[in-house]
């Protein structure tokens, strides 16, 4: 038997082994396990702020760790920094390329980043007298779909070239490239302990990566289309994904499998974005149908909806103190709800 044939046989055997191992620990499912848990209260949130300022579709937003400032990115070619309490714009950063798909706020509050169809991640310093570009991270061969700061010196990116990368901001070079997806990478989420991250891609898979050794540790199957959104559960033992297959899913890292699917027969729009409340109990998922649906993460039931946008909800975010949820839309507005 040629080596190619041997490899194919071994691959099939390993896949069967993994499936059997997952089945062997599947002694219940989350919905059954949570049947005794009191239902989450019906969640009715009000729009507290309607942030007007962008002139075109909003593609991304990210909260600062100070729970007050946030950055948003629009294909009007600008990043806007907002004071969410007052509703005022604090800064505007003009972008070299208006085809932006992601933005990020550094934990320190000193830097923001953006990127998109220019295949680059551009990092800006907000604290210099005039906002300056500090680095252009240029090595991806496909669009930049997501960026996240680990610190003022390291950035993680996800790209349409099917890779994710860890960058050194001092040299502007990639320290580690994470190779394993076979479809465009669309999203990433850092673990609470910052030692690992998860990515979602157009190959319908979510993958867990060790940041330091660059290795893919686990692969999560189940979605039947592109995964557009992903987030670690607080506590770090589970992840939530959102997909073009119109469902969200929870995967547990230690059981290495899907625990629950959040779906509704009436929902036939793709999930674009998601964010979790502070305890993880509530999932805020943005959809192509202009709504943001609120799910009880333990029981799998829809417990509310945020309606008000006049176009697709493209991004959602909950600040670290959990005091509100922000939705951003193709209608060019950001709304703050609580």
């Amino acid at each position: 038997m040629g080596e190619m044939e041997q490899m194919k046989k071994e691959a099939e055997a390993l896949k069967t082994q993994i499936e059997a191992a997952r089945k062997a620990v599947h002694d219940t499912d989350m919905a059954s396990a949570a049947s005794g848990v009191a239902p989450a209260p019906r969640v009715q949130l009000k729009t507290r702020r309607n942030l007007k300022g962008h002139l075109a579709k909003i593609y991304a937003m990210h909260w600062s760790t100070d729970n007050r400032l946030m950055v948003s990115a629009s294909q009007d070619g600008k990043l806007l920094i907002w004071d969410s309490h007052s509703g005022n714009k604090v800064n505007a950063v003009p972008l070299k390329s208006s085809w932006v798909m992601t933005c990020a706020y550094a934990p320190s509050g000193n830097l923001v980043a953006s990127g998109g169809l220019d295949n680059m991640c551009t990092v800006y310093n907000l604290k210099t007298p005039v906002i300056k570009t500090v680095k252009e991270l240029d090595a991806h061969t496909g669009y930049l779909s997501c960026a996240r700061f680990l610190s003022d010196t390291e950035v993680l990116t996800a790209s349409g070239d099917t890779t994710c990368a860890l960058w050194d901001l001092e040299t502007g070079k990639q320290k580690t490239v994470f190779l394993n997806h076979v479809g465009d990478c669309m999203c990433l989420s850092l673990s609470p302990d910052m030692n690992s991250f998860v990515s979602g891609a157009c190959d319908s898979l979510a993958k867990l990566w060790d940041i330091r050794d660059g290795q893919c540790k686990q692969t999560f199957l189940g979605h039947t289309s592109d995964i557009n959104a992903i987030s670690f559960y607080p506590g770090g033992n589970a992840i939530i994904t959102g997909s073009d297959d119109c469902t969200c899913k929870m995967y547990d890292l230690r059981a290495d499998q899907e625990l629950i699917t959040y779906q509704d027969a009436a929902l036939n729009s793709g999930v674009t974005s998601l964010a979790l409340s502070m305890s993880g109990r509530l999932i805020f998922a943005g959809y192509d149908d202009f709504n943001c649906n609120i799910w009880d993460s333990l029981k799998g039931e829809k417990v509310g909806v945020l309606s008000g946008h006049d176009n697709r909800v493209s991004c959602t975010g909950v600040p670290p103190d959990g005091m509100c949820v922000c939705t951003g839309s193709w209608d060019s507005f950001l709304k703050i709800w609580n």
């Binding site: 080596e3 620990v25 309490h85 893919c216």
Partner: protein
């Protein structure tokens, strides 16, 4: 919507790719898994312990809500 350009697909006839795939599957097959009952119980416990700190779940009193518009005071 920005179109998602399809990625470069590594030919499945590529031996090096097949070796990498098998190596990856070996790593994934070797992990320890815990029972779903334990995983679920731990998640439920986490939610339960943290529910009281979750403003969106518990509701926020108006006096503590930084996003609530303060009504202007009228001096009579």
């Amino acid at each position: 919507m920005v179109s998602k350009m399809s990625s470069k697909m590594v030919g499945s006839n590529n031996l090096a790719h097949a070796r990498r795939m098998v190596q990856q599957l070996r790593v994934e097959a070797s992990i320890e898994r815990i029972k779903v009952s334990k995983a679920s119980a731990d998640l439920m416990r986490y939610c339960g312990e943290n529910a009281k700190y979750d403003p969106l779940l518990m509701g926020i009193p108006a006096s503590e809500n930084p996003f609530k518009d303060k009504k202007p005071c009228t001096i009579l």
